[in-house]
């Protein structure tokens, strides 16, 4: 009963807003205002994944400034509204806000980023409700396969760009190959979207490592937010592990690493995905964070520039640091690239009111973005476009406590390296 009251209240607000917008436009002299293009953006602004969304406000504010004069749709300027929703790092909530953006806000295009727990529920809602969607910042296998994707069929409405497990396996193993070790790798892979894919016996690390003559100590999947890693550490010590890898969430790696130090387990290399992406996460390890290494999808040194603002990667990161006073993080480039793609797709859209037309524009994308060239159609499976991946190591910083130095670029030679991997 009162549910419908809430709705009517909202409608009145909306009608009021539309009226205000319309009168504002008529002040500006517009007679027939072109319809507003609506873009929805779902991201984990709060909760355990919040570090991924730290750069969002900076990127969205910049995008709003860029599109202040409207967004180009098939040659005509339209006003743009960007509606941002918080997934609260919770897949239930992500599905809920995505459904709301689709049904209530009637968005034209969905953008979503940061881990399968965010990208997958949102992509599912879009796929079923025929809403074009571009997602990123999740390796493509957990995005594609756990959603029931078949490589030859793919999806109709949802598109993804990022790197895949094959890239991270190549990067990590090449890094490890550059140091003399006993080639025994211990894996801490959690029981979640990423961990299950990385630790998978068919598509994950274990078979690939075996093929490259590494031996693997896999203590099995553990639950996120586990507080005691003694069992894993004991197994690693027993197996004489010299290389640690995995894809834990940042607080878990901090606990694991501290316990490893306490229990006298000191591997020569610790190359870990996801947990070491952010400088704050590495700083949380204290001095023992020096020398840990991770995957690198974007840095200020990447030789790419924005198709939207023509800033170089270095300029964008510098602008972030001067605006927010914080050290740059990797998601800045990808959040920016989402809006580059949105602008490019809308410009090539023939009919704004046809979802199929927007989708076809996405499928036909060929764009050099700040994270590298993106084109769907040449990826490993339908609906997936790949961006380059390199490897990096956290070193003593000059301006900040730690700086990320690129130490491996076998998969993307155009990205310059800053040094060689050093043992911890």
């Amino acid at each position: 009963m009162t549910g419908s009251h809430t709705i009517s209240r909202r409608r009145i607000l909306y009608a009021g807003g539309a009226f205000a917008a319309a009168s504002a436009l008529s002040w500006g002299g517009a007679i027939a205002a072109p319809r507003t293009v609506k873009i929805g953006y779902v991201t984990p602004r709060t909760g355990p994944l919040a570090a991924f969304a730290e750069a969002d406000d900076f990127v969205i504010n910049a995008a709003r400034k860029t599109f202040a004069g409207g967004i180009d749709v098939g040659g005509a300027k339209h006003p743009l509204e960007i509606i941002v929703k918080d997934s609260q790092s919770n897949p239930n909530r992500a599905a809920e806000v995505a459904a709301e953006l689709i049904a209530k806000d009637k968005i034209d295009l969905m953008l979503v980023a940061s881990t399968p727990e965010t990208t997958n529920p949102v992509s599912d809602q879009c796929e079923l409700n025929h809403t074009p969607c571009i997602s990123t910042v999740a390796p493509w296998q957990p995005w594609f396969f756990t959603r029931g994707g078949k490589p030859d069929v793919g999806f109709e409405w949802t598109y993804h760009f990022f790197w895949g497990l094959e890239d991270i396996i190549a990067v990590f193993t090449t890094m490890w190959g550059s140091l003399p070790t006993n080639k025994v790798v211990g894996g801490i892979w959690p029981n979640d979207g990423d961990g299950n894919a990385w630790g998978d016996a068919k598509i994950g690390f274990p078979p690939a490592l075996a093929a490259k003559n590494f031996s693997v100590v896999d203590p099995g999947r553990y639950q996120n937010l586990t507080e005691d890693y003694s069992a894993q550490i004991a197994e690693f010590k027993k197996g004489n592990v010299e290389i640690v890898t995995g894809v834990p969430i940042p607080p878990d790696f901090a606990v694991f690493w501290r316990q490893a130090m306490q229990q006298g387990f000191k591997p020569k290399v610790a190359t870990v995905g996801k947990a070491l992406l952010f400088p704050v996460a590495v700083e949380a390890l204290g001095d023992s964070g020096r020398g840990v290494s991770n995957e690198v999808w974007w840095t200020p040194n990447h030789p790419f520039s924005s198709s939207l603002t023509h800033q170089s990667a270095g300029d964008l990161a510098a602008s972030y640091e001067s605006t927010t006073g914080k050290q740059w993080t990797q998601p800045i480039g990808f959040a920016h690239a989402l809006f580059e793609l949105a602008a490019n797709v809308m410009a090539r859209t023939q009919k704004l009111d046809s979802q199929a037309s927007i989708r076809d524009a996405i499928a036909g994308t060929k764009l050099d973005t700040i994270v590298g060239p993106i084109a769907w159609g040449s990826g490993p499976v339908k609906n997936v476009a790949k961006t380059p991946l390199v490897g990096g190591q956290w070193r003593q910083g000059s301006k900040h406590k730690f700086d990320l130095c690129i130490v491996e670029n076998s998969q993307a030679k155009n990205i310059p390296i800053g040094g060689q991997l050093e043992p911890i």
Binding site: S4, T6, T46, A99, K104, N120, T146, G148, N191
Partner: protein, 348 residues
């Protein structure tokens, strides 16, 4: 006219019932007049009422304070996932089946948790829910900890048909479970339940079969939550253990029931309305949203211990769903001046 007489429904109650029936008719026709977002909102309202009623039945009437009712939402969600994706059964048909599966699981779960009393019972139910979550985390065939999407099971159903059927099922659950709770409470079982809630030894001494009464109520609650769980994941499209067995579901049920009025059939409806209102007002405040929701719950618990509807019912003596049989003492013509002129309620 006899001295003591069972009170019948008042004219006001009749009015409310007619209005409710008219509203229901309008809501049933909603797929033809409302747009997708309205349908989704009404459906969500209906399923929240449904799950809150199930918790209310347990706690408000049965005295069983469980904080692990999410286990049945999760079982419902996973039944839907397995049957629709792997067995190819129509997702809509899976919903009643999910209720039955959930009720079947409730029997052995009850055998374990009913050994515990009071706070130990609450913790026990929570542990059971987490055991299910962790167990499903380790079954790779249904996605393990990553979960699985339902989209492919729904792709072949035309959009309007899918939205409308989902909506009708949600509405049916909200209305049906509310009426179901009311009917249970008016039955012998309802009488036994409230007796057990108020005093186990006293009801036992009167011949109430305590164990059987508790079990029936627990299984009934599981049946409703299993169906609701399947429906919820039909709209969310993706089932993963952390989401399906999330404590949030029970927290939501408790919030709605406590705000609306525990131990009243009307309470969950009022509570859901308050929750919708607060969420619409505060959704963009980030973490503050939860802080304010929590504060509202604390204030209601301190100031109006029986919730909003409990306060209304006590103040105006008005019940849309009267679950107690009340006896009216009729004043006898003249000569009994000491009898009050207006009806008094003996049981209040």
């Amino acid at each position: 006219m006899s001295l003591l007489e069972l009170e019948n429904a008042s004219r006001l109650q009749h009015g409310v019932w007619i209005a409710a029936a008219a509203l229901l008719a309008v809501l049933i026709l909603a797929p033809w007049w409302a747009d997708d977002s309205d349908l989704r909102s009404i459906a969500e309202f209906a399923y929240l009422v449904a799950i809150a009623q199930m918790w209310n039945l347990l706690a408000g009437y049965g005295g069983l304070i469980s904080v692990g009712q999410q286990v049945f939402i999760g079982i419902g969600g996973y039944t839907l996932l397995i049957l629709s994706l792997d067995a190819g059964i129509s997702p809509f048909l899976c919903i009643p089946v999910a209720g039955v599966v959930s009720a079947l699981f409730a029997v052995p779960i009850a055998a374990v948790v009913f050994r515990l009393q009071g706070p130990y019972f609450a913790i026990g139910t929570w542990v059971v829910a987490d055991v299910f979550r962790l167990a499903l985390d380790n079954v790779p065939a249904i996605g393990g900890g990553s979960g699985k999407s339902l989209t492919s099971a729904l792709m072949s159903i035309p959009g309007w048909q899918r939205e409308a059927t989902t909506y009708w099922i949600a509405l049916g659950l909200g209305v049906g479970l509310t009426i179901g709770v009311y009917l249970i409470l008016r039955s012998r079982l309802g009488l036994a339940m409230t007796a057990v809630r108020d005093s186990v030894p006293a009801s036992e001494s009167l011949g109430v079969r305590v164990g059987r009464t508790k079990l029936l109520i627990y299984v009934a609650s599981a049946l409703g939550l299993g169906m609701a769980g399947a429906l919820i994941y039909l709209t969310k499209l993706r089932v993963s253990p952390d989401a399906a067995f999330s404590m949030d579901w029970t927290v939501l049920m408790i919030f709605i029931v406590v705000i609306g009025g525990i131990g009243t059939v009307e309470g969950p409806i009022v509570g859901t309305a308050v929750f919708f209102f607060l969420r619409a007002m505060l959704a963009d405040f980030g973490p503050w949203y939860l802080v304010i929701l929590g504060s509202v719950a604390v204030v209601v618990m301190l100031k109006a211990r029986r919730g909003i509807w409990g306060w209304v019912a006590g103040r105006f003596n008005f019940h849309v769903f009267p679950t107690r049989r009340r006896i009216r003492v009729n004043s006898l013509r003249s000569g009994f001046a000491e009898m009050p002129p207006s009806p008094r309620y003996l049981t209040e």
